[in-house]
Symmetry: C2
Subunit: 500 residues, 2 copies
């Protein structure tokens, strides 16, 4: 233990701040705003939130906090705290089922934000003041600087703007992770200058986070692993979407609208996103780069197959197997992977400059190309918008994929009108389902409707969509029968299927 501490916490002044998770958790009081490291779900604190939940359960106290994170975090944070009713307000993104259920029954107030906005909103004083930042780290340097773990998220801005800081040193992560991070914090306007990322591989900051020592109130030692799940096998539908997407990209290259090695790729979260990246391994493309949010297992495949030279993101979201693979060859991967704060990985400035190709998953798409990424049937929060808006709006080409149906065919993912809108028709350029590709660039809404219905809708729903669209009212710009526009969703809720 002593050697480990000497190795991990090089600055000796910090040694007397080491305490148990339970002692650190006692610093957290009712009504506080707690901001943590962690991004989709990697590098979040685990020991302190678990201890807090335990304390709440044991003592039967009523303690509620506002919880700010980078993006989604694991069960040890969102799950434990949601289950004991300790979350009052939550931002900016979540994927944990107990947390989600409490959001959907109105118990947790959820603010679903563009991931690129969070650090600025904190900095500008638009959100409640951060009482305590809890940050997972692999080490503290001699100078007292923090070396983060598997994600960077909003950690630098949270630390800078927090009253107090609790650090969880997680010995599960090898010290050799040091050097993978690139910490850069923009100044506040009117003093802000250009973010100097010109290519995905540019390092523009430091490998540690500076913090004033007297802010650090507790250091807790932990070895709980990130709870990233293994991806399921790629199913046929996902494979067909991935194939369609790669065909589309090849066609863009053939038509000289994209260079042969494409442009930096962003890929969303989930099974389809994973299949798409997997498809690239087998594709003819090479010399690729990634400028995205999460670095998933498939990115390691792309690096191993020499397809990708550089991958920039905000978190290392690897399955246990992926993590083992990464740690077994850490020097090689570290050379090709950069972790950035999410305000840099998701920066509109950088995304538009680099010309990122964005590939995200939609819940549903309407016939005019609006996209719902968040609210099932307009009223049940799934995860949140995450970074999909940051990338989509600023992409060189913005692509959304979705299976053409959901719930065993009872739901058409192509609908007359989205039941909730996260990405407007102004932002969505390409829609891909297992049925085909709708390239919406340069099309008016009524042209879009035809392409989306004909190329992307499932055969079971095509006629009904065409009927909705081709009603004589609907020959204009954007037209809707307002009393029918949401009737498909209403029918599903009443009858269990969108089919008539």
């Amino acid at each position: 233990m002593k050697t480990m501490i000497m190795e991990r916490i090089k600055n000796k002044d910090y040694h007397d701040k080491i305490m148990s998770a339970m002692e650190a958790a006692a610093l957290i009081k009712d009504g506080m705003t707690i901001a943590t490291s962690g991004f989709t779900p990697a590098g979040y604190p685990k020991a302190v939130p678990k201890a807090l939940a335990e304390r709440i359960k044991r003592e039967g106290i009523d303690l509620k906090i506002n919880l700010y994170t980078g993006a989604s975090v694991g069960d040890e944070l969102d799950g434990e705290l949601a289950r004991v009713g300790a979350i009052k307000k939550r931002l900016p993104y979540q994927t944990q089922s107990d947390c989600r259920n409490k959001i959907n029954c109105g118990e947790i107030d959820y603010i679903d934000m563009h991931l690129s906005h969070v650090s600025d909103f904190v900095r500008y004083g638009f959100l409640s003041k951060i009482d305590i930042a809890i940050v997972e780290a692999i080490a503290i340097t001699e100078e007292g600087y923090i070396i983060p773990s598997t994600s960077l998220g909003n950690t630098p801005a949270f630390i800078e703007n927090a009253e107090l800081v609790i650090i969880e040193i997680n010995t599960r992560h090898p010290k050799e992770l040091e050097g993978i991070h690139d910490v850069y914090q923009p100044l506040k306007p009117p003093n802000r200058i250009p973010i100097p990322v010109i290519t995905p591989k540019d390092r523009i900051g430091e490998t540690y986070i500076k913090v004033s020592p007297d802010k650090i109130k507790a250091i807790v030692i932990s070895d709980i692993p990130d709870s990233v799940k293994e991806f399921p096998e790629i199913d046929e539908i996902s494979q067909r979407m991935a194939d369609n997407l790669i065909d589309f990209l090849e066609n863009e290259v053939d038509n000289k609208r994209l260079p042969e090695n494409l442009l930096p790729l962003q890929s969303g979260v989930g099974a389809v996103a994973n299949a798409v990246l997997g498809g690239l391994v087998k594709s003819k493309f090479s010399g690729l780069s990634i400028y995205s949010e999460v670095i998933q297992d498939s990115v390691l495949d792309l690096i191993d197959s020499d397809k990708v030279n550089i991958a920039s993101g905000s978190s290392l979201t690897l399955s246990p197997k992926g993590l083992e693979r990464f740690y077994n060859n850490i020097a090689k991967y570290k050379d090709k992977i950069i972790l950035r704060p999410q305000e840099i990985s998701n920066s509109p400035e950088v995304i538009r400059r680099l010309g990122v190709i964005s590939m995200n998953t939609a819940i549903e798409v309407d016939i005019y190309g609006d996209v719902n990424s968040t609210n099932i049937m307009g009223t049940k929060m799934m995860n949140g918008i995450g970074g999909s808006g940051d990338f989509t709006r600023n992409a060189y080409i913005s692509i959304f994929t979705t299976p053409s149906t959901a719930k065993g065919g009872k739901i058409s993912s192509i609908v007359p009108l989205v039941s909730h809108c996260d990405h407007t028709e102004h932002d969505v350029q390409v829609v891909i389902t297992e049925q085909g590709v709708a390239d919406l660039r340069g099309l008016s809404p009524k042209e879009k409707a035809k392409v989306i219905i004909n190329n992307c809708a499932h055969p079971d729903y095509k006629d009904a969509l065409l009927e909705y669209y081709s009603n004589e009212m609907n020959q204009c710009h954007i037209s809707h029968k307002l009393n029918e526009a949401l009737s498909w969703h209403y029918r599903f809720l009443s009858t269990g299927t969108m089919k008539k």
Copy 2:
């Protein structure tokens, strides 16, 4: 005439390209894509489109073009061509009533785009190839460079990517306008570098547009003025919205969330926007700067009252009186006004860096803070999204104003669900009506609903909105009764009022 030509067209090689508008118009063939200068409505070509319309009428020919502009243009272009049925496809923004009517009856295919996207989409080959660019200019230099007139819009990218160029030298604009423009064109990814605008006053390019001489096929002399309308007197409702907005800004300064001289201001188009800028003249603020799209009459007032040091935009949209005032004191104003290409005035990169305060007008806002800027009753295009999305998404603080009712009170501008979504609840931070201010920062949707209804809705509709919202279904995250969400609009369409 001869002296004028010598003065305006310094490069003598160009003199034999001078021809009549009718001759130039003969270059335009059926099916062509024509891209013009012009921005909201200033600096658009007038003589050639008028001649084209005349020719179509006289010869009874069937000629249809795709028309790309910077933003809205005047009657001489959109009106004349729409009336003779010569527009097949139109992008990215329009405000002319005949053009709008043909869009809404399905005769013109309209692509309603973020203004910052247009030049890139042209450059990347995502839109049909430009056959002819028609550009209004005040002069051609000895080197053969073009000095644009009262706007910059997409002109540089259109010229660069057009097969041929027609120039309208408009002698109505004094030569002294030269020097007001700042022409900068970003490279294509992967070679793009940071846009070096660090403060609104930074000039980063040239005062002219370079063009290869053999592209220029015709030069036409014209003296038709821009058709910018005088603003009506500021009415009481607009005045109250302006007062509310200025109160809000003062409060932000008092709470140290904004510096005393604020941050660069963007202000939308229309009567309310004009009232707001007018309100600033009488406010206690000073040392202000403007980073916006259109430079309206009220900006001259702000400069004259020493409130504003620098105003950056993409067009000089001055009423005839305003223009006279400008031209009478051109040296003074030129020193404080910069005209940029719209991909720079509307650049997400620059807007977020500068921390622009965006103030745009909504058609309607729903209880969760989604905004409709474009489609009345979800189905009738008004103008287009314009730059409102570019600014809103990237603003330091994004503000929308709207009167709480429309059509003499028969319509509530606060509705259960927007009938068309242009700005999602993720993007909209502050909503202001004549009733009050809803500050949505840091609020969950259900908290937003309460603030929007209580502070912004008109008393005539408050109860009905609260009833919709406070139904037990609606205590969760975002909730809607899907069969009622659009019923207010439907009722208006059926009965002529949203009132029950």
